[in-house]
Amino acid sequence: MSETLIPTTTDYLSAVQAAVADALGIDEDEAVPEATLLGELGAESIDLLDILFRLERTTKVKITVADIADLLQGGIPDEEFGDENEVVNDTGLTHLEKVLPQFDRAQLTEPLTAEGVLGLFTVQNLTDLLTERAKAA
């Protein structure tokens, strides 16, 4: 008797939490869905790479940092996404509200810069991207 196990969103969340915990040396229960990776969890660029390669090994789904950047910017050219000071404008903010369910521009305490965009990305956002990629594969 055999059955095919189709991973569920919960499985992907666990995979992301395990990868984040291993890469950052934190407990899995600290990698809560709403935690931002580069912000609250303090991941640096090599940590993010580590997380993505760990996920590739455990789930066989490849996600690159460029994929995350593409999701966040949605193919909108730099000059349309933000103003000349690289502060994200209405077009950019509207796009971010579309792709990051938790994002609400009303909650911003200071102008969002292009550099700060990646900092919005949470454990849950990565889980969603992973789930979507796995489905598409």
């Binding site: 090599i46 790479l49 580590d50 390669f53 590739e56 090994r57």
Partner: protein
Amino acid sequence: MKLKDRTALVTGASRGIGRAIALGLAEQGAAVAVNYRSRREDALAVVKEIETAGGKAVAIGADVADPQDAARLVEEANRLLGPLNLLVNNAGVSDDGLIYDSPADAWLNVMKTNFGGAYHCTHAVMEQFMAQGAATIVNISSAMGERGWIGQSNYSASKGALNSFTRCAAVELARFGVRVNAVLAGFTPTELVGEVMQRDGGKSIKRQIPMRRFATVEQVASAALFLAGPDSGYTTGELLCVDGGFSAQLGVGRP
């Protein structure tokens, strides 16, 4: 057979230390891509020797000093042998002479092959090595990269660069399950160091080596095999001297 199911690329493997490493890896069960730049016949002979002994090997021509060519080399090795998980950056050249006598750009080609070649090949394999999470890179360097020697400024600088690169790459790749180490060979009679030995057949150098003899290519290769294989599982960023005690010694080591 400690390297069964491993797939290796050895650059500059048609002769000298590279050849000995290719043969050694194959003896331990690895499939080996034997890279050469110009010595196709020699490389094919290495392949034949491996095949005769029951191993698997292919010869691939490429100049690792060129980043595109290095990338193609890695791609071909993957295509012909399956996914690589072991890289030995061995290809090296020398262009000895006093700095005073040399053209101002005498360092460029030496640097491009000795350091650049390792950089290019490491860059070309890293994505797949990181994804696998169990791969090794061994750089064949020189004790000369840590100290000075008259007439070897560009060679020494290129190996010094390779040694630094070994440490940096080791630190960057450690968490991805990729180990990076170097073998610092001492005086090893190969065609590369012919000039150094020229004066008196190397006698005056031999007198300065604590062990009083030169390294064989097999002795250098066996250190590379150790760093490439499971016996060095917790070792990364290491520069392993195989130099008969030469660089352990201060001056001539006695009054």
